[in-house]
Symmetry: C2
């Protein structure tokens, strides 16, 4: 089975030796700090490191405005706890990140889809009443798309004229291939934005380490919710990540993983061009892990999945990523994160064969080439 | 400042060298497993280890009935998410664990106090409608008391005749001094019990590792809630704890920390007998970290705290541990977990001096003896 389904980071992207050395140093040099309870907000030097990194991205951030979380998913849950009430409106992209829908749903909001185009989702009409808008402007999950500079400017203006809080979720922003994405949206609406980040995609997800940046009064509420939920992120993983960041690991780690994912994206784009029948469409992502495929209108990606699995290829049908039903049935998410270029070519060839059997599909752009 | 306030484990109870070796081995031998995403239920061998330990305590437990959590506090939160609705009734001891009240409160239950005596809380009258009862039968926080065997038998019979779910929280059960506490209550009402445990008190709290044991259908709901909340407990800390448990560390660690806390409890009991005026009362705990002090009826432990802090001693006033108001004002929680025997004697002598100034206090049992 070749999985193009995962949102997992590539296992060979993990800086195992550096993490092992950092972990050992944390337990050797500061065992009590690594093993005792710590503050619910997270340890001060790690909050400081994150604030400095945010400032470098154009976000006026103070360490007091940073909460360390056990991954971005916990940030989403805490935001839901603190900001949402039953019946309030949450604006989301169409499609949007499934994990955010799952995190917010227990708090009973009404989801409303945003219209969008190739530059990204469009701001809602002036006067739209909503509690918050949830966006992944960079290399989004599931579409891989990035919001343009122009669209960010439009969003910032629209948000400033509204009472809608922005939740900017940016798990993939560092995984750019040719150039960094435009400046974060949250830095353009200070006081109105909550930004979520994670080390899952640039170090390792099993560490479960992320953060929320928000105005102080929001952080205070999130910390109270955090104390009731699980007290704190493990002291050990915080110390370990601080140690590895202080060692300057990102200077080598980020170029390495950008090159890794870029090569895999290139392999997927080449394979798609080679193997897909012409009724199938996609955009080229500029970073991240995902690519969004649109089959002919009358195709059903969920119904096709068993046949893909028979061909030993896994993908994720697109309908689950839609907050508002009915969802289109002809979309699917591909990930180039965990498969090698060779595996990607093989898997896309098999999917191309499958999709060529669709009544509405035309013949492939080029004849399928057997995997070498 | 000498803190008798903390619920913290003694820092010198942490098996630092063993944890460091186990962490290094986990990252050396199975780096992908330690760094990649893992199952929301927790890793299978750790669930198996916990199930085996529960069976040794007389609880029929299967690995499938175990959910790994990021500490007991998360177990409480997930139980609240899954079992509670606004207005439902939760029965609690009086006083009870503050962290449980904080975990359950966001889900809107009504708390009702249980009556109790020296053997522990009394089961409610037959026919009492409640969603769940929350109990810490062993060396409870805040009182240090343990439910007797007879009272456990009464509870098991009462629970079997009711629809009330038992939530048995047992963070301190391994910290017994002379003999293990009676068999867990949860093992006596299979199918009706949710048991919470943690490695915070026997290994280190900064690892944030605990578990829930519950019937399969409850575990399934808890896992769904977990996925929305924060996906999973860090793979690294799970692997690390598994490694250190498999090394047999508890065979040396448990006797070591029992002796440590026992010596500190003995020091506190001796100091109380030596320094407290006769209007002050307490029971001798048989394990755990806490001792509950009752001042004369008209004393106010909250009002006295600033004077205690001026004398450089910290304690926790008892009123916060009461779900139903008005709470008695004359109680306070002392912890012997983190102070040395010498510090404990000094701190209790200072508190004895302070409480001797109360109008209703009588003179000390014995003349105060200066610390050696």
């Amino acid at each position: 089975m070749i999985s193009l389904a995962g949102g997992l980071p590539a296992a060979d992207s993990f800086p195992v030796d550096a993490l092992r050395a950092a972990c050992d140093a944390a337990l050797r040099d500061q065992p009590q700090a690594a093993l005792q309870y710590g503050p619910s907000e997270g340890i001060a030097p790690l909050r400081g490191w994150i604030a400095a990194q945010l400032r470098a991205q154009g976000i006026a951030a103070d360490p007091d405005e940073v909460l360390i979380t056990s991954g971005s998913q916990q940030g989403l849950d805490l935001v839901g706890r603190v900001l949402l009430d039953p019946g309030c409106t949450v604006l989301v992209e169409r499609p949007t990140y499934l994990g955010a829908l799952q995190a917010f749903a227990p708090y009973g909001p009404r989801f409303a889809d945003l219209a969008g185009d190739a530059e990204g989702p469009l701001p809602p009409a002036a006067g739209t009443a909503a509690r918050l808008v949830y966006l992944q402007p960079n290399f989004s999950n599931p579409t891989g798309r990035t919001m343009s500079e122009v669209r960010r400017t439009q969003w910032a203006a629209a948000l400033r004229d509204s009472d809608v809080a922005l939740v900017e979720d940016d798990p993939y922003g560092e995984l750019w291939f040719d150039a960094p994405p435009p400046r974060p949206l949250s830095g353009r609406v200070p006081g109105q934005a909550i930004r979520l980040g994670t080390f899952s995609k640039i170090l390792a997800p099993g560490l479960r380490l992320g953060y929320v940046h928000a105005p102080r009064e929001v952080i205070a509420k999130l910390v109270l919710a955090r104390q009731a939920a699980d007290l704190q992120t493990p002291s050990l993983t915080q110390r370990l990540v601080l140690q590895v960041l202080d060692s300057g690991i990102l200077d080598t780690q980020l170029p390495r993983i950008r090159a890794l994912y870029r090569a895999q994206r290139d392999a997927m784009l080449a394979a798609l061009a080679r193997h897909m029948p012409s009724g199938v469409r996609w955009d080229a992502p500029d970073g991240g892990m995902f690519l969004w495929l649109r089959l002919p209108e009358d195709a059903d990606a969920t119904a096709l999945l068993p046949q893909a699995l028979e061909r030993r290829v896994a993908y994720v049908p697109g309908d689950a990523f839609h907050a508002c039903k009915p969802a289109p049935r002809n979309t699917l998410r591909l990930s180039y994160a965990t498969a090698t270029p060779q595996q990607i070519d093989t898997a896309i060839a098999r999917l191309g064969e499958l999709f060529a059997t669709l009544p509405s599909a035309e013949t492939a752009h080029e004849p399928a080439v057997p995997a070498a």
